[in-house]
């Protein structure tokens, strides 16, 4: 399950987590910075990608700039025995960007399925939540939509110091 990064892996992570160099040979550029070969950098990054330690390599759009200004964390109270099938169904909706099973905190917080929904308006988020509700049917005992009102901090993950 987990990938144990060694020292050179950690240095590759530190050198690329802010972004890949924008030059024709970016892996060579990373290698030059670290004092190793480009083949070594590419082999290790391929290994991390295969192991899932790198989720993907590509562009990360700023969804606000693309017009997706409304985001709703939708939370659902689903019977424990249904959580896995329900989670997979909801995760398959193309408008759900993240879908997780998380613990309840009873009595205050009965919700155990979280699905992040993005839209261009609050109405669109509400409409998508209705589609999730319809898919869950009687397996859902209650839900809420927590709209975000403000981004207080967004630095991204910093993995290797």
């Amino acid at each position: 399950m987990s990938y144990v990064p060694d020292d050179l892996d950690r240095r590759i992570i530190a050198a690329t987590q802010a972004g890949l160099p924008l030059c024709p040979e970016p892996y060579q550029a990373v290698a030059d910075e670290l004092g190793c070969g480009a083949e070594e950098v590419m082999a290790r990054m391929s290994r991390m990608l295969e192991a899932g330690a790198i989720r993907r390599i590509g562009v990360v759009p700023n969804h606000y700039k693309l017009g997706y200004t409304a985001n709703g964390m939708t939370v659902w109270d689903v019977a424990d025995e249904d959580i896995r099938t329900a989670g997979r169904e909801i995760g398959d909706f193309d408008f759900v960007s993240h879908c997780y099973h998380r613990p309840r905190h009873l009595p205050h917080w009965p919700y155990n399925l979280f699905a992040m929904v993005h839209g261009k308006s609050h109405e669109e988020v509400a409409d998508k939540a209705r589609r999730i509700a319809a898919a869950l049917g009687s397996r859902c005992r209650g839900h809420q939509i927590l709209l975000s009102t403000k981004i207080l901090k967004k630095t991204g993950l910093r993995l290797a110091a």
Partner: protein, 147 residues
Amino acid sequence: MDNLDRAIINEFQGGFPISPRPYAEAAARLGISEGDFIDRVRSLLEAGVLSRFGPMFHAEKLGGGLTLAAMAVPEADFEAVTETVNAFPEVAHNYAREHELSMWFVLATKTPERVAEVIAEIEAATGLHVYDMPKLEEFFVGLRFDA
């Protein structure tokens, strides 16, 4: 943003090559030159349309700790609590949400054990209870934004 920018955003939210000349390879898929691809990505980053370009790492698979935490913050204290919470380097994202649990933040720590320590430190610094909501199972994590 024109069609080419949209194509880059829609085609390359993953799958960027690991090869000696990856931009040339990616550019060929769109029928443009290596230099054009690099220039486009640079402009989109500068305009803030892209927040990043490169590998996205999986914190927990690399041995780190990660959790989602929530607090019921009284409105009058909201600004001060925001400042206190954001000062922790382990707080990666923090959102205000319309709910009694009004502050939701992601903690990313170097080790899994450190999550509980940071939560205790935040509770001590704010005097508020922190609801720890680590993921128990992941069903989907991806970004499928159409530009």
